[in-house]
């Protein structure tokens, strides 16, 4: 009898819930059918937006992937390269639907290592510009190229993280105060990574069509990831510690490195000047700190050797996939989403590392010189090594 009442109550709530939904459907239908704002919009030319999402350069050919947005489908009517109208083909041909994509092939004797300016004139006469900063043939998926890209990914992700984890044996001998310092240092490193990840996410968002609200997506996906991982991490009733916390840190760093890989891969695809070896060195040093962060929470946990291998793989391998994917095809929208998720994952581990210090040594320890010094040192090290990159 009680259950029956409840079911009836649910049915009533369900029926009542339909009321605002139906009202909304009705309102939208009225707006579409009667177009009451016609007077406002009739004389206005269509609003148009065109974003170049990706440029592929082959000998004698510039291939551009664009995404359109606007109040009406957008037609690319003419194309300029370096201030001259050029023949081109559209694939698919015809107008580009709102948020739709198209590929523009422009035969052009582009010049290796030089800058080229593209300009797309739409049927309404609006012009959208894109600059190829340094023209270089896009790497293809040949064996040699894949090997190179994988090597780039390994250097970017695996090598420095593995080196960083090697701090572990040394850290085992640390006393409680030094351990607080190291954990605070980890929190500082991760916080810098968080700022960097959000920054890269926004940078990608700037390349996506405005309507996709990619800026907001970076933050929303970050917060959702943060909430989700916090909940998962504490689902056993206690916060993650030791190897478990290291695992979460590795996941966060892995997502970040995937995003980094995308950017680097895409930079390879869009061309880059050849520079000196010290930059690579700088990059390796910068990422070594990531390995340190993974190792720190495991002090006292006595993990097996394969745990280290697994954690390094989780944190580092995504960079390899990122580079491979970034060098081929990705849209700024998805890259921004990756950075958002990565930011959320890093935010989670920052919170958990701080929580760990507070549990180990009491919340007062957070403001003691060891912790504050470690935190500041972590931020400073990351900033300083970032300057090398």
């Amino acid at each position: 009898m009680h259950g029956g009442l409840r079911a009836e109550g649910l049915r009533r709530s369900g029926a009542l819930f339909l009321l605002p939904v139906l009202a909304l459907i009705g309102l939208v239908a009225v707006l579409f059918l009667t177009d009451p704002l016609q007077n406002l919009t009739a004389p206005a030319p269509p609003v148009e937006e065109l974003k170049v999402e990706r440029v592929v350069l082959e000998p004698g050919l510039i291939r551009v992937h664009v995404r359109a947005d606007g109040s009406e489908p957008l037609t690319v009517a003419q194309v300029q390269v370096d201030g001259a109208y050029r023949t081109f083909t559209l694939e698919p041909a015809g107008p580009i639907a709102r948020l739709g994509q198209t590929r523009i092939d422009i035969p052009y004797p582009w010049i290796d290592g030089e800058t080229h300016h593209l300009s797309f004139v739409t049927s309404t006469g609006v012009r959208f510009e894109h600059t190829i900063d340094v023209a270089q043939t896009t790497p293809r998926f040949g064996t040699g190229e894949v090997t190179t890209l994988v090597l780039v990914g390994l250097l970017l992700g695996i090598a420095p993280v593995a080196v960083g984890v090697m701090f572990y044996p040394a850290m085992r001998g640390f006393g409680p105060t030094l351990m607080d310092f190291i954990l605070a240092l980890t929190a500082g490193l991760l916080l810098f990574l968080l700022i960097d990840t959000i920054g890269e996410g926004f940078e990608m968002a700037g390349k996506a069509v405005e309507r996709l609200r990619t800026d907001a997506l970076v933050l929303v996906s970050g917060l959702v990831t943060l909430a989700g991982l916090l909940a998962i991490g504490r689902s056993r009733g206690h916060p993650p510690e030791g190897v478990m916390l290291a695992l979460f840190i590795a996941i966060g760093i892995g997502l970040h490195n995937f995003g980094e890989g995308l950017v680097v891969g895409s930079a390879l695809a869009t061309g880059a000047a050849a520079l000196a070896t010290f930059l690579v060195t700088g990059f390796v040093i910068h990422n070594v700190t990531e390995g340190l962060g993974i190792a720190a929470p495991m002090v006292g946990a006595r993990p097996r050797w394969y745990a280290f291998v697994g954690l390094v793989a989780i944190a580092g391998l995504p960079a390899v996939f990122g580079v491979l994917l970034g060098a081929q095809a990705f849209s700024p929208f998805w890259a921004a989403l990756c950075f958002g998720i990565g930011a959320g994952a890093i935010a989670q581990v920052v919170i958990e590392v701080v929580a760990l210090i507070s549990r180990r040594s009491g919340s007062a320890a957070l403001l003691k010189p060891a912790s504050v010094g470690g935190f500041v040192a972590g931020l400073a090290i990351m900033y300083a090594t970032a300057l090398l990159v």
Binding site: G83, G125, A274
Partner: protein, 363 residues
């Protein structure tokens, strides 16, 4: 703009990649790209680009001239002579111009909200004879005030810059003055804002043929200019209005052309009979850029600045520049050339590559 939105790839990202690749010393990108450059240098596109692999310097598609209601080949060769009558022993010539708003396709697939005289850009080429009395009636069927300002000799009341000679929408005005001096002139709307009224399409060519009786010392040359005489019949005349269109209204032209449609004579050349001399009436009505120019390939011409003299102001040149509203007459012959396509274009390569690129086909 959001502070986190640098437009180009961040320097850091480029450096990262460059550093890595450079360090690896096996640049996946470097080798094939070098090959591309090499190839591009080894196989230069013939002339202005006909290589199937390297594409062409041209617009894609074609303009619907029927929908526009005019085409650049007719504009180059047709003159408007008006209605001729005798009044008090003088020849009276009357023209009617109607200013109207019209959406025109100024390049394949690109519509431009033009303001026009008689529905075309440039407006009709008005042609008369030195010493005639002219009456030009302007009807304003557009949505903004307009006028006709002639480059010629006339009174302030007839200048089209103020008072009743600026015509409100729905109104009309008759400009009356003597046809002088002879030469190659122009007319345009002089309503403010001036730049907008001109570049939206309110301009045209205004030719005053010399009266041979008034120039006994150069009567033969004058008869060669005067439409309808036997001496004139052998000439092949073309009107070339050098213009441009700023389709996104940023005070910079997206398209340049001879007579509005970019590359029109490049694809379908103006036809020239080898044996007959050629005369071009060239008028610069380009906005935003201070000068425009015309360069004739494989040939030289005599130039009559403003067309107001019967002896050349410049002899044996192959390029001449004109500032805004400057104009002149070019005379040359292909009599000793072999038949074929002969280019003419702005020698600002920027303008040429954005549409002001043409051919004569000499047969």
């Amino acid at each position: 703009m959001h502070p986190f939105h640098p437009r180009a790839i961040s320097r850091r990202a480029v450096l990262k990649a460059g550093g890595l690749l450079g360090a690896l010393g096996m640049g996946a990108a470097a080798t094939p790209a070098a090959a591309a450059t090499h190839d591009a240098q080894a196989v230069p596109s013939p002339g202005h680009g006909a290589g199937p692999r390297h594409g062409d310097n041209r617009v894609v598609g074609s303009v619907d001239h029927d929908r526009n209601g005019f085409d650049p080949w007719t504009i180059a060769t047709e003159f408007e002579f008006g209605e001729v009558s005798q009044e008090n022993g003088r020849t009276m010539r009357e023209f009617t111009l109607t200013a109207m708003d019209k959406e025109i396709e100024i390049a394949p697939g690109i519509m431009f909200p033009a303001w026009t005289y008689n529905g075309r850009v440039p407006g009709p080429t008005l042609r008369c004879v030195e010493g005639e009395r002219l009456r030009v009636r302007l009807l304003n069927a557009g949505t903004h005030p307009h006028s006709v300002h002639f480059h010629g000799i006339h009174s302030a009341r007839m200048d089209g810059v103020a008072g009743p000679s600026i015509v409100e929408p729905g109104g009309e005005f008759v400009y009356e003055f003597d046809a002088r001096p002879f030469g190659c002139h122009l007319y345009h709307c002089h309503t403010l804002p001036l730049k907008r009224h001109i570049h939206k399409g309110l301009y045209g060519t205004f030719i005053i043929d010399p009266d041979p009786q008034r120039h006994p010392e150069h009567a033969e040359a004058a008869r060669g200019r005067l439409f309808g005489t036997p001496e004139h019949a052998r000439w092949q005349e073309f009107v070339i209005v050098m213009n441009g269109f700023d389709t996104d209204f940023d005070d910079e032209n997206e398209f340049y052309a001879a007579n509005t449609i970019p590359f029109a004579y490049f694809d379908r050349p103006l036809q020239v009979e080898r044996a007959r001399p050629v005369r071009l009436y060239v008028v610069n009505l380009t906005e935003f850029d201070p000068i425009n120019s015309i360069h004739l390939h494989a040939n030289f011409f005599d130039y009559y600045d403003h067309g107001t003299t019967l002896t050349p102001s410049l002899r044996t040149i192959d390029t001449v520049m004109q500032c805004q509203a400057q104009r002149g007459i070019l005379e040359f012959t292909f009599a000793e050339h072999e038949p074929g396509l002969y280019m003419f274009h702005a020698h600002q390569t920027e303008f040429a590559e954005l549409g002001w690129m043409s051919h004569f086909e000499v047969t």
